[in-house]
Every structure is written in structure tokens, then in C-alpha cells.
């Protein structure tokens, strides 16, 4: 059997090494964090299981990005999916965890099925699972087969990456896992799907038509917008972060999709540059999303709730968590000088240069994609103003939030490390970009020897170079803000500031119930996007008597559009079919004997006719 002679070949080219680095950057701090996070929550035995699972999970991800043949890749991929399933249902006593785990494992296996199918089609042409053989075969493959393989790979990896409409599992599974696992899942695991797309579509299959790239771009834009709109609506802190991962995968795929378009259009420099932008966002998102999930976990650990409506005021009791979460929130909102700013700037620049160098409809299409990215950025900023503002600022909205204590040293140090890393990636962007040029050159088989783009020197734009320098911006902002603050608050001219209570229109002793809530904060967005969110509310009056309403209950919901209009009908269809088919199984032995008889008869007739 040829199948059994599978080689255990590993691959360590720049693309694999880059992903290994990303895995390490997020997993190591998460592991340190888990020491404090698991303390006091579960028994020693369970803790050991948790650590063992996490270690093997991280190793399986490392194997995914270094596997040198498709069989090994699939084994690692499946291992990664199963281990992350066990980690999602780690809290198996909660029903929500079990539901989330079920949705996750079903979706991820649908994805794996597509990937396996794609590999088997290629295998038909090669007779080998080695990547090198794959690449050779793909050169001579007919283009309609290539199209089918591409669509299969896109569906397969898209499920794992969480692109809309295959994102359905992500907002269930990521929040339910323990926070250090959420951090690894959102920070790294969904990126292995991006690795898969880059490795198999760009590197091995080779982009065959411009529409491949356009399709990825359209899906990316949809993912960005849908992800961020749901994120703005969420009032569960970790769910918000999970939806925001959908959005950020969209931003990463914008770079990847643009690169595919430019490759096919014969613009190698732009292709490399766009892929660099995508990979840069991948790196920065891995770090700041990891940081944000760890921060959310710290809040959960300290207060026992993830619902923002019960939080507030934590900046005073948990200053370290608050400061580090703020760094993550700023980075994800693309604020200078942090990492998210540089990566979104690069992506926008890639789109600008692409639109500049193409004519006609692609110029408009790429510009509109960029505009949608800007809209996403604006919505993401609102989302994280809400996440940080409601969770950490103002007065505590519940007794649990008021009693919160700063988390332990191991958790704090992981948070501080990740936030320093976020700042460092932004500030040292021009060095990282140099590395990424090699990585994306290797991925798209383009010689990058002559391409020396740094952030301060673009050779791509014909007229003058557009540049950005995060350190200079940081310097300027700190200088001006420092001067202003020094003049106004600290100098010899400083004036006394007195403390008072917040203005309450003449009423005194306002309590936390008068504060703005997360639901209220997102109301304008809920109304503006009501065509998509289909919000509805339930009101209930609890009466003491006919004349006097004792209390008033108001709940607002949004319709889960994808679930209701895509997944539920499909599920209903499958279950309905299963029910119908079940009728042939009445439980009577006579009927079964009749089935056997009919089958044998049919087989005899079938064989006889051959």
C-alpha cells in the first residue's frame, strides 16, 4: 500500500518560520498567564490535563505550519481541531460550553472535509502527498479543476478562519474556552487557516484567474463589516472580541486577496507588498487580540462576569489590566503609533497603489474595498471605546465589579509583555516589513531581491514616496501632549483643581444605574444597521396595581440573520430527511430479513448483468 509509506517531511521555509514565530509569540505569554488563571478554579488533576492539552495543541499548530506533505498536514490539522474542541468544552459542566463545542466540531469537520477533498483531487494528478509534487502537478492541471480545488480550499480554510458566512462557530467557541485558550485560538489558530490559504492557493496551486482574488476580496469585505457590526452589538466582552476576530480575519484576507489579484495582473511588486500588509496585520492581530483576550480573562477572573453591563470602574481597582487592555484597544482601533495602525495603513496603501496602477473597474473596486476598510476601522474604534469605556471607566455597575482585585503576577506579566510587544511591533515596523518582504516573496515565488520597501521609502509610487513613521508620530504626540499638559497642569502657572461629583442635572447622589450602558452605547449603530440586524425588543410592565407600575423590563435583541436564514433551514432539512429515512427502520426483524433478501436479489441481478 502506497498510502502507508507517508514520509514525515517537515518544511522550514520563511513562510513556515514566520507562522512559527507568531505561534510562539502568543502561546508563550498565554502559557505563563494560565498559571494564575487556573489557580483556584479547578482541581490539580484538571489543571494538569489543561496544561497537557494546551501544550499538545500548540505543538499541533506548529506541526500544521511546518508539515511538508499534505497527509501530515491533514493529521496535524485534525489533531489541532480535536484538541481545541476539548479545550472549548473544558468547562463541560456548563451547557453553553457543550453547545459551543458541538457547533465548533461540526463546522470544523465540514471544513476539513473540503480540504481533504481538495487534497484528494490533487493527489489524483500526483500520486504523492509531497508539497513539491503537488506544485509540479498544479502547473499542468486543467484550469477548471484548479477552480474547483480553489473553491474547496477556500471553503475549507474559510471555515477555520471564520470568514462570513462560515463564521458561525467562532462567536460560540472562542468565548467559551478558558481565556488563555481563547487567546491562542483567536490569536493563532484561525491564522493557521490563512497559512493554509497562502500555502496551498498562492504558493502551490498558483493563482489562476483574477476572479479568485476578487472573490477573496468580496468575502473579506463582507467579513470585516459583518464581524464589526456584530462586535459593536455584543455586550459579552469575550463575544465582542470573537466577532472582532472575524473582522480582523477580513482585514488580513484583504491583503491576501489583493495580492492574488495583483499576481494575476502581472504586478509582482504590488503582490508582494499586499501580502506583506496582510501578514503584518496577521502578526499584529495575533498579538493584540491575544492581549485583549487575556485582559478580558483577567476581568472575568476578578469579577466572575463577562457581561459589560455588570462591569465598570475597574481602572481604579485593576490599573495594570486596564492599562494593558487600553493598549490592545488602541492597537485594534488602528491608533498610532501601535501595531494595528501600521498594518491598516499598509493595507490601505496597498489598495491605493493597486488602484493607482490599474484602470477602469478595478480602480473603483479596489477603492471601494479600501473605503469599506475605513468604515470597518471607524466601527472598530467605536466598538473598543465601548469595550474599554463601559468595562473599565465610570463607576462599578455591580457589587462584584466594585469588589474586583488586581490579578496575580503571572497574569499581569503576560499582559504587560503582550502590550509592550504591541507597541514594539508598531514602532519597529520598518524592520519587520523587511522580513515580511522575504516571507511573502517566498510564498508567492517572486524574487524580492530588488524590492526594498521600507516604511520611509516607497519605490512603488511614481510621484514621490508616501511614508509613515510610527516612532516619529509617537514622538510628536508625546511632545505636544507633554508640553500642553506641562503648561496647563504642572507648570508654575498651574491652578488648583477641585473635586466634585458628576453633574446630574441638579439631582445628587447619582448611582451607577444612571450611567450609560453598553446596549445604550450601541443603539445608534443598531438603528443604522437595522436592515441587517433586524432588532426587536420586548417590554414588560410589572404592576403593583392597575394604576401603579412597579417596575419596567425592557430587553432588546437582534436577529441572528445567518443562523436563522441559512443554518436553521439547512439543519431542519437534514433532520427532516433523517426522520424520513428512519421510517425504513421499523424495528421488526421480518422487515430486516426482507431487506437482506431484496439486497441479495439486487446484487445477483447486478452481478449477472456485468
Amino acid at each position: 500500500m502506497e498510502y502507508l509509506s507517508i514520509g514525515f517531511s517537515l518544511l522550514f521555509d520563511p513562510l513556515s518560520l514566520f507562522f512559527l514565530a507568531v505561534i510562539a509569540l502568543v502561546s508563550v505569554p498565554s502559557a505563563v498567564y494560565s498559571v494564575g488563571y487556573l489557580r483556584g478554579d479547578c482541581s490539580r488533576k484538571k489543571k494538569i490535563i489543561a496544561w497537557a492539552l494546551m501544550a499538545v495543541f500548540v505543538l499541533s499548530m506548529a506541526l500544521v505550519v511546518t508539515a511538508g506533505n499534505a497527509f501530515l498536514f491533514l493529521v496535524a490539522w485534525e489533531l489541532m481541531s480535536l484538541l481545541s474542541y476539548f479545550l472549548v468544552v473544558f468547562d463541560y459542566k456548563h451547557e453553553r460550553s457543550v453547545t459551543a463545542g458541538t457547533i465548533y466540531i461540526v463546522m470544523t469537520h465540514i471544513g476539513t472535509a473540503f480540504i481533504t477533498a481538495a487534497f484528494l483531487i490533487i493527489y489524483k494528478y500526483t500520486g504523492s502527498f509531497e508539497f513539491a509534487a503537488f506544485k509540479q502537478a498544479c502547473l499542468v492541471m486543467p484550469s477548471n479543476i484548479k477552480n474547483i480545488i480553489f473553491l474547496f480550499l477556500l471553503a475549507g480554510f474559510g471555515t477555520k478562519a471564520g470568514i462570513v458566512p462560515l463564521h458561525i462557530w467562532l462567536p460560540y467557541a472562542h468565548p467559551q474556552a478558558p481565556s488563555h485558550i481563547s487567546s491562542i485560538m483567536s490569536g493563532v489558530m484561525i491564522k493557521t487557516a490563512v497559512y493554509g490559504l497562502i500555502r496551498f492557493v498562492i504558493s502551490i496551486l498558483g493563482v489562476n484567474a483574477v476572479w479568485w482574488g476578487s472573490l477573496v476580496l468580496v468575502l473579506a469585505v463582507v467579513s470585516c463589516l459583518v464581524g464589526v457590526i456584530y462586535a459593536v452589538m455584543a455586550s459579552d466582552l469575550k463575544k465582542l472580541l470573537a466577532y472582532s476576530s472575524v473582522e480582523n480575519i477580513g482585514i488580513i484576507l484583504l491583503g491576501v486577496g489583493a495580492s492574488m489579484v495583483f499576481t494575476r495582473m502581472g504586478k509582482p511588486e504590488l503582490a508582494v507588498f499586499s501580502l506583506c500588509a496582510g501578514l503584518f496585520h496577521l502578526l499584529s492581530h495575533a498579538v493584540f487580540k491575544g492581549l485583549l483576550f487575556l485582559g478580558a480573562g483577567a476581568v472575568y477572573k476578578a469579577t466572575g462576569t463577562r457581561n459589560m453591563e455588570h462591569l465598570g470602574g475597574l481602572i481604579k481597582t485593576m490599573p495594570w489590566t486596564a492599562a494593558t487592555f487600553l493598549v490592545g484597544a488602541m492597537a485594534i482601533s488602528a491608533l498610532p503609533p501601535l501595531s494595528g495602525f501600521v498594518s491598516e495603513w499598509l493595507t490601505l496603501q496597498a489598495f491605493f497603489l493597486g488602484a493607482l496602477n490599474t484602470a477602469g473597474s478595478y480602480k473603483i473596486f479596489l477603492s471601494i474595498c479600501a473605503a469599506m476598510l475605513a468604515l470597518t476601522g471607524g466601527l472598530a474604534a467605536s466598538c473598543f471605546v465601548k469595550a474599554f469605556g463601559i468595562t473599565f471607566l465610570a463607576a462599578p455597575r455591580s457589587a462584584r465589579a466594585a469588589a474586583a482585585k488586581e490579578v496575580s503576577l503571572s497574569m499581569k506579566s503576560a499582559l504587560v509583555f503582550m502590550s509592550l510587544l504591541t507597541a514594539a511591533i508598531g514602532l519597529s515596523a520598518s524592520y519587520i516589513l523587511k522580513i515580511l518582504v522575504t516571507v511573502s516573496g517566498c510564498a508567492s515565488s517572486i524574487d524580492t531581491a530588488g524590492m526594498d520597501f521600507s516604511l520611509n521609502n516607497f519605490t512603488l509610487a511614481p510621484a514621490g514616496s508616501a511614508a509613515v513613521s510610527a516612532p516619529l508620530i509617537a514622538l510628536a504626540v508625546v511632545f505636544v501632549a507633554g508640553t500642553a499638559a506641562a503648561l496647563a497642569y504642572f507648570g508654575p502657572l498651574k491652578k488648583r483643581a477641585s473635586e466634585g461629583s458628576t453633574w446630574g442635572c441638579g439631582y445628587y447622589d447619582l448611582d451607577a444605574r444612571t450611567e450609560y450602558t453598553a446596549t445604550a452605547f450601541s443603539k445608534p449603530f443598531r438603528i443604522a444597521f437595522s436592515f441587517f440586524l433586524l432588532p426587536y425588543s420586548k417590554t414588560e410592565k410589572i404592576r403593583e396595581s392597575f394604576y401603579h407600575v412597579k417596575s419596567f423590563k425592557y430587553e432588546v435583541f437582534t436577529t441572528p440573520v445567518f443562523r436563522r436564514y441559512i443554518y436553521d433551514p439547512v439543519l431542519k432539512l437534514i433532520i427532516g430527511t433523517a426522520r424520513t429515512v428512519r421510517k425504513i427502520q421499523p424495528g421488526s426483524i421480518h422487515v430486516y430479513i426482507a431487506y437482506i433478501f431484496i439486497t441479495i436479489l439486487a446484487l445477483i441481478i447486478f452481478v449477472g448483468r456485468l
Binding site: 488602528a334 473605503a371 516619529l472 496647563a488 466634585g500 461629583s501 458628576t502 450611567e515 452605547f521
Partner: protein
């Protein structure tokens, strides 16, 4: 040398920024047949606020204290990137027109957080609405900048402001950018600076808790931000023609718009910005068509 020139330019623009607001206010008052305050009133206001004692809510954190300085810094840094009189922006190494959008959002982010910090419903309402409006203004700003930059071949402000011929696409982009400027500087029909009515205010609700010197910084930051947008339109997007004339035109236009339309409901503001978005998309399409 160039850097020194740019810094002088920025300082002089900061010095006249409140004056621009004063002139707009004067124009509005004159059209309404009122005498109104003098054009130097914003300076008196700033001086008054700077001398007043400050009251800070006991619920606030360091975010509330830091936000005004950061907002001011973000406005000033954005202004550094806009070439007006200095030949080429010496600070073009720091960032381009795309970076300018991001730098402005830094100040907005912190002001919105500060609005939530005091824990009053007004502040939260203001923050929510400010972020809402700006989320819809951002794609318009980006597409307008794209349209203007296509002609220059780069998003570098110096290169864009050096374009010689006036093109239809940049003119449409400039009109779309005026829409953004109206939304971002809290003017009618999107917001109204002159009212403190709870249900309608956006920016003023967000900064309601500020007083004294912090409020002075916040006010100065918004004057400078307005200057950034005006300079962006009259000297980067449309660099041709006499600067003073164009500046006068845009100031008059903003004043006229403010007195001639009514403030829109919050959700109508989305329609207003959608119109601006369509205009900016038009600018890109016209530019793709070669005009």
C-alpha cells in the same frame, strides 16, 4: 530649515485657528440680522477658561485628565502633515494623508473615552454619537483623499499639493470633504455647537464634564482640528488659486450652510454622510474615467 518653516507655519495656523471659528460665528450672526460677538471672542473664551478653577468629577480616572492633551496633540500632529505655506511638508517622513486620518482618530478615541469616564448619561450619549458619526465620515474622507491622490500618484501631502492642473474629480472630492469637515467639526446639519439641549448635542455632550483649563485645551483642539480640515481642502486637495480667497470662500460656505439648513436628526446625519460618500465615490469614478 524646512522643518523650522513648517513649525512656524503650524504655530501661526494654531494662532489663527480660533479666529476662523470667530469669523464663522460672526458671519452667521450677521446673516441672522444679529450683532453677535466680535470675531476675537474665541480668544477671550479661551483666556477666560484658562484662568478659571477646574472642577473634576470624583468618578473620573487618569483617562479624563490625559484626554484633552492627547486630543490637542493629535490635532497639532495632523496639522504638521498639511503643507500650506512651507514649500514641501518637512514632516512627510512622519506620515501621509492616510496617516492623517488615523492621527485624528487618536484624539477622538480618547475624548470618547473621557466622555464615558465621568459616568454621566450625557457623556456616554455624546461619546456614542460622536463615534457613530465619525465611523460614517471615515470612508468619505478616505475616498476623497484617494481621488485627490490618484492625480498626484502618491498619498504624500507634498506631492498632492504640487499637482498643477485642476481636475473635476478633485473638485468633487473637495465637496465631499466639506461634508466630512462639517461632521467632524460638529456643525449644523450634523451637530450644533451652540446648543446645550440634551437630546441633540453630540460633541458638547461628550465634553460636558470638562471645565477650566481642560475645557480650554479641548476647545483649542477642536479649533485646530477645524483648521486641519480647511487647510486640507484649500491647500492640499485644491492647491490651485489664491489661498486667502479659497479660505474665505470655505469659511463663508460653512457659515451659509449653518444658517440655511436645520439640524438633522441623528439618523438623518447618516443620510447626509451617505450623500457625501456617494460624492466621494463619484470622485473616484470620475478619476478612473480620466477627468
Amino acid at each position: 530649515m524646512n522643518a523650522a518653516l513648517t513649525i512656524i507655519q503650524v504655530l501661526s495656523l494654531i494662532a489663527v485657528a480660533p479666529l476662523v471659528s470667530g469669523i464663522i460665528r460672526k458671519i452667521k450672526n450677521n446673516i441672522r440680522m444679529r450683532k453677535g460677538a466680535g470675531i476675537f471672542q474665541p480668544y477671550y473664551d479661551l483666556a477666560k477658561l484658562f484662568c478659571k478653577e477646574e472642577v473634576v468629577s470624583d468618578r473620573t480616572s487618569w483617562i479624563f485628565r490625559a484626554a484633552p492633551s492627547i486630543a490637542l496633540a493629535s490635532s497639532v500632529c495632523a496639522l504638521l502633515l498639511v503643507p500650506v505655506f512651507a514649500p514641501q511638508a518637512a514632516f512627510s517622513r512622519m506620515g501621509d494623508l492616510l496617516a492623517l486620518i488615523f492621527i485624528l482618530s487618536l484624539g477622538r478615541f480618547f475624548m470618547a473615552l473621557a466622555g464615558l469616564d465621568a459616568g454621566s448619561a450625557f457623556g456616554g450619549m455624546g461619546s456614542s454619537r460622536e463615534m457613530f458619526i465619525s465611523a460614517f465620515a471615515e470612508p468619505v474622507a478616505l475616498l476623497s483623499i484617494f481621488a485627490a491622490s490618484f492625480n498626484a500618484g502618491s498619498t504624500d501631502p507634498g506631492a498632492v499639493s504640487a499637482v498643477l492642473g485642476l481636475r473635476l474629480s478633485t473638485m468633487i472630492a473637495a465637496i465631499a470633504l466639506i461634508g466630512v469637515a462639517i461632521a467632524e467639526t460638529s456643525r449644523i446639519p450634523v451637530d450644533n455647537r451652540e446648543t446645550h439641549l440634551e437630546l441633540t448635542m453630540i460633541h458638547e455632550a461628550m465634553v460636558l464634564e470638562y471645565s477650566g483649563r481642560s475645557l480650554a485645551l479641548v476647545e483649542l483642539a477642536s479649533h485646530i482640528k477645524q483648521m486641519v480640515f480647511f487647510c486640507l481642502i484649500v491647500s492640499v486637495v485644491i492647491p490651485q488659486g489664491d489661498f486667502a480667497l479659497k479660505a474665505a470662500a470655505i469659511i463663508a460656505a460653512i457659515g451659509l450652510i449653518e444658517v440655511s439648513v436645520a439640524k438633522m436628526r441623528l439618523f438623518r446625519a447618516v443620510d447626509f454622510l451617505s450623500l457625501a460618500f456617494v460624492l466621494s465615490a463619484m470622485a473616484v469614478i470620475v478619476s478612473a474615467a480620466g477627468f
